[in-house]
Symmetry: C2
Subunit: 209 residues, 2 copies
């Protein structure tokens, strides 16, 4: 996001999140570390305490959307986010996968988790679906979808399939450099796919209110 | 590994691991689930208990190597594995990354973790380094190594760089199908790279005894 060197300030109304843009603010434990290389060696209870603080003590102001980016898995972080947000209400979960079976195995567990904790699944996005060769422009499957990929899994488990995102090395480079992909490569297939998915997600969220 | 449907048996001497091959056995919580889609919704203490059971109650017999595959991060799983194995002695950690800066950020934390818990770092392997286009055979960087990739990071942090692995869609397919890549595609660049890395690792382990 291009804000790696920013700092979080504490005021009377709580922590002020880091402003990325006019309409985007960010909070991360990364801002609280002395060095970006420092490991955060915490067992579950300490992680849960920090998640609660991020939800209750950050001065977010008025928000249209609060996105919580979790690690993969079905453990402390996911249970805490679902529990602490249950009274406020969670609109739903967006699940990200890659096409190969070994990734879908974990994603099926994540879908089972959402159902068990009563979090609606807004849909599944398939990332790194195809690679666009910079030499011949041919699109290749990176991870062959041996079992039909995310689309087939969504059909089986009856959850919405939101679409797939090609892997464009140029996108990865811009992200690494903290640059804005929407203004720098607006016509690329990956940004067009992303815009379509976001539009569908906004529709899903608005219809759920 | 092609053993997804196997079951773990309990005997007087503990759990019997699943035999993959004459010289390879495997233990996984996946074998203990009623369905492969079931989420394992456990907070830290329960995960720690299972890690301890896997280390103490599996009848491994005589082993040359015990590999513990952990999720990314520096939390319960990593602390428990390091703690429970500290008396037996851990030869070292093998760290896997991909080339882009956003992955290296997490890997730097993992290296800091190993140093703080006194686990030697055997080295870093860079996965998904290049993509071989099935159409034009041209090798492309998947994730541009904007900060020099794993090699540069290893130099900075003074840890061994073990090599990189290209991403071959055929390999991903064979893995998904549980087939043996060493016999089915022995001359592919990825298997040759893998063999070289494993040879170096065995040398490192033997010299550390």
């Amino acid at each position: 996001m291009g804000v790696a060197d920013e700092q979080v300030h504490q005021s009377g109304s709580g922590w002020s999140p880091v402003a990325v843009d006019d309409n985007l603010s960010l909070m991360s434990i990364g801002f609280l570390l002395a060095s970006p290389d420092d490991a955060v060696i915490w067992r579950g209870p300490k992680k849960n305490g920090m998640i609660r603080q991020f939800l209750s003590e950050v001065d977010w102001g008025s928000l249209d959307y609060l996105l919580v980016d979790t690690p993969p898995g079905t453990s402390d972080e996911h249970l805490s986010a679902a529990t602490y947000l249950s009274q406020a209400g969670v609109t739903g979960a967006i699940i990200i996968t890659t096409p190969q079976e070994v990734a879908l195995l974990d994603v099926r567990k994540e879908i089972d988790f959402c159902r068990k904790v009563n979090v609606r699944i807004l849909g599944v996005i398939e990332n790194m679906a195809i690679f666009i060769c910079p030499c011949c422009q041919k699109m290749s499957e990176i991870f062959p979808a041996t079992t039909g990929g995310a689309r087939q899994m969504c059909k089986e488990l009856d959850v919405p399939y939101l679409g797939n995102l090609p892997l464009d090395p140029k996108l990865a480079r811009l992200c690494d450099e903290g640059r804005d992909i929407l203004t720098e490569m607006p016509s690329s297939p990956v940004v067009q796919a992303l815009n379509g998915i976001v539009k569908d997600l906004i529709d899903l969220c608005e219809n759920s209110d």
